[in-house]
């Protein structure tokens, strides 16, 4: 079982069962049920999108919308083998990475994406502002691996599959990200 699945099971007892019932209703076409699923999971999806895209609120809002619209479109493929939260989490990572690939191709003829300024507003960073700010400063690939591995609990094998990179690359990016964070936080 992946770390993500384990994390999902830390919720209150019965929450997964409620998800199952809501998913069944949503699969039958109930938008009210899907809204309930949105209400239950949007906080987690928002946090994931926000950290992965470097704390850009405008982009986060767009990605959250895209993730839930995609979830609605793909709901028929959810068979209940994993928990809904696990399925939604993986789908969201795919949405974020797919969006990034498109932006990288557009930016390829202008400037390296990692040098490009992130447009849009920045959300309040919260209690761990220094750490959140440092994560947002990381280069995209390093940030992706760090967030998925150290914050979300995915394994390198899962990250490599999702981000279309070698396992060794994932490990190297994680090392690089931690090194940069330690340096910045110790300054």
């Amino acid at each position: 079982m992946s770390a993500v699945a384990e994390l999902d099971q830390t919720g209150a007892p019965g929450e997964a069962d409620e998800d199952v019932a809501l998913v069944a209703q949503a699969q039958a076409g109930s938008q009210q049920a899907f809204e309930q699923l949105y209400r239950r999971h949007q906080g987690r999806v928002t946090a994931l999108c926000w950290r992965m895209c470097g704390a850009n609120e405008d982009l986060t809002s767009q990605l959250v919308q895209d993730a839930f619209v995609r979830a609605w479109q793909k709901l028929d493929t959810f068979r209940g083998d994993a928990q809904f939260g696990t399925w939604l989490h993986r789908l969201t990572v795919n949405v974020v990475l797919s969006d990034r690939r498109i932006r990288m191709r557009v930016a390829a003829r202008e400037m390296p994406l990692e040098q490009a300024p992130e447009p849009g507003r920045v959300m309040p960073l919260g209690l761990d502002a220094d750490l959140e700010s440092a994560i947002a400063r990381l280069p995209e690939r390093a940030r992706t691996v760090l967030v998925l591995h150290d914050v979300e609990g995915l394994k390198h094998m899962e990250i490599a599959e999702l981000a279309d990179m070698a396992v060794g690359t994932s490990k190297a990016q994680l090392h690089r990200a931690r090194q940069m964070l330690r340096k910045w936080l110790n300054e």
Binding site: Q27, R39, L75, R101, I102, R105, V106, A108, L181, L185
Partner: protein, 183 residues
């Protein structure tokens, strides 16, 4: 701070965040167009104007691809021009007019173009055109999954404008002034 301290801090970060504005109204609006989940959902309805605009776009892109290919330039990805009409999003009428006008400037010129010499501005611009078309392909693939995405549709429109810029540059370095009819 060592690795373990850092990892512990990262693991304690809040797992949830709130957007400053609830995203559900926008999501619901996008779901409304689909009515039911994917298996029962019909492709987004397109009116007669949309079909014409889409068809014109396909023909124009195919024409550019043919012209560049016959002159030894980069071969545009066939998937761009061969994309099924039902999946192509609508371009605004002004963008379509702009694109059409730029092509009218370009097409007579490209007939006389030879294979660009590497390193010349023409070769660079044709490489740029290839990059933009590759990006357009990626956007179109994403739009097949989510045709209603405003973000993707805006990006597609932006890519069209970039293609116009490149086509104008090709026209300029080929010795023919752009007529300005497209501005």
């Amino acid at each position: 701070m060592n690795d373990n301290d850092l990892i512990q801090r990262l693991r304690r970060l809040p797992r949830e965040r709130e957007l400053s504005q609830d995203a559900w109204p926008q999501i619901a609006a996008r779901l409304e167009a689909k009515v039911t989940p994917a298996p029962a959902a019909a492709p987004p309805a397109q009116g007669p104007w949309a079909a014409l605009a889409t068809a014109a776009c396909i023909v124009l892109l195919a024409s550019v691809g043919f012209r560049l290919e016959t002159q030894g330039g980069p071969v545009p990805d066939a998937a761009i021009s061969a994309a099924p009409a039902s999946h192509l999003p609508l371009l605004s009428a002004s963008t379509e007019r702009e694109f059409s006008g730029a092509l009218q400037d370009l097409l007579p010129i490209t007939v006389d173009l030879g294979k660009p010499i590497p390193g010349t501005p023409l070769a660079v611009y044709e490489q740029s055109l290839s990059v933009v078309q590759g990006a357009e392909k990626a956007v179109r693939q994403a739009l097949e999954q989510d045709p209603e995405s405003r973000y993707l549709n805006n990006m597609l429109t932006d890519l069209k404008r970039r293609q116009i810029d490149v086509l104008r540059s090709i026209a300029r370095v080929s010795g023919e002034p752009s007529t300005g009819s497209t501005s």
